[in-house]
Symmetry: C2
Subunit: 245 residues, 2 copies
DNA sequence: GAGTGGTCTAGACCACTCA
DNA sequence: GAGTGGTCTAGACCACTCA
């Protein structure tokens, strides 16, 4: 394994991050083949002119991503199985764009409404207080793929219909300086009502994939409550899970 | 914040782990309230007689779990939103047991079969080679909840029907010394066929929640390929996601 | 017994936040 | 300017794995 690794001490990028990026690239490009040993941490540190903790920090970040496996007494190996993309809090918009599908959005509703009991509970607001309600139809290849209904607390974000048609809700939140932290999700299935079927060009009673999500920012505010319906012929939730040790 | 923290240096449990467990317990019990500041790392280290890296390691593990948020220049805070259980690779059996539902299992099929093209591809074996096939019906409160069809490579595990009826597949794997590492999952929905409907006491065409999963151990072997059907009135996938920074 | 990662120390300098 | 976490060093001793 004659891997070319080098760090640039004049760069503002942290040394451990430079190293982890190079290792990740080498794994992605196949220079580091699955199962190959990385060389021990002390030797790696010496070769790069880094301290061992810095090398460990780089390796740890790739272990956390599932790309490397450490075994005491044995060494650090590139994982065999193809790890693609770990599960992350993604928006349907990003998912579709990443799949090269050029998503389109039709905004059906963008207004203030009094919060229902369910919405009020999810957002932590009094029932009946004003909340934003956004209903969107997401299309791919000109076909409806999902119906997205979201509620947001007031004052968090300016929601312009033209922006909502041009990009995804999470991108708008990030652009507004909101740091997303976590989300609680529930994925289920049920039969389409007549109205839902019409929106999604399905027939009444057809199976639909459902997702409810409450999203929190890093200050603990609830920033969004979503209730989504997907056409199962057009969309499935795909993700990679890591077993935490 | 007069939190009682103490480490036992005679214990074989790592110091950082003792600390992170105490912090986690304090968060869980409400001693450390959401939003409260932890006190800076150097002061914490001095108070506990630990070095700062050790304290950081403890804090980092709780940041990774989503319980703490660090902000440079500000401090480390307990997260506001209620983080329950992060998404992990769980078995339906464990899920049900954790929910206090005392799951029951009926093994419908437990045999060796030649691998179909799909199964062979998932397990990385030649088509037509012998694989274990297990079909199970999972019940809760005496009602069928899911139909589970799994394929496993030969020689990995002894699959006794009585064990499969007493516990979950993942537990059997772990007990056999298999270290699970990651899984690729796909969650979707579709209409029940007549045969599926009968097994699950649904009607033909009823919406079902589907999950396909390929699971890898830490040596990169594929240890399981599962194709599961859930009754959406009885089960949904619930989980918490963390946004990776 | 040789080699590995796991844990731990006691510092240092820095970038960032906020009053 | 005071206080915070982010990064980094140069070590140390240990438990575990494997031949």
């Amino acid at each position: 394994m004659q891997l070319e690794l080098r760090v640039d001490r004049s760069s503002p990028v942290p040394l451990y991050f430079q190293l982890s990026q190079q290792l990740e690239a080498a794994i992605e490009h196949g220079t580091l083949t699955p199962g190959s040993l990385l060389g021990n941490e002390i030797e790696l540190a010496a070769r790069l002119g880094l301290s061992r903790p810095t090398v460990r920090q780089a390796i740890q970040s790739l272990v956390d991503k599932g790309l490397l496996v450490r075994r005491r007494g044995v060494g650090t190996q590139v994982v065999h199985s193809q790890v693609k993309r770990p599960l992350e809090l993604s928006s349907l918009y990003d998912d579709l764009e990443a799949a090269g599908q050029r998503p389109a959005t039709q905004v059906l509703v963008n207004t203030l409404v009094p919060a229902s009991a369910e919405v009020a509970a999810a957002l932590g607001l009094p029932e009946g207080s004003d909340v934003h309600r956004v209903e969107r139809l997401r299309l791919a290849h000109g076909e409806p793929m999902a119906y997205l209904c979201n509620h947001l607390p007031p004052g968090l974000l300016d929601l312009h219909t033209d922006q909502l048609e041009a990009t995804g809700l999470y991108r708008l939140m990030r652009a507004a300086g909101i740091t997303l932290h976590s989300a609680r999700q529930s994925i289920g299935a049920r039969a389409a009502t007549a109205a839902e079927a019409e929106r999604l060009t399905e027939s009444e009673g057809a199976p639909l994939l459902t997702m409810q999500r409450t999203t929190f920012d890093d200050t603990g505010r609830t920033v969004e409550f979503g209730d989504h319906l997907y056409r199962p012929s057009r969309y499935a939730f795909e993700f990679q899970l890591l077993v935490r040790p």
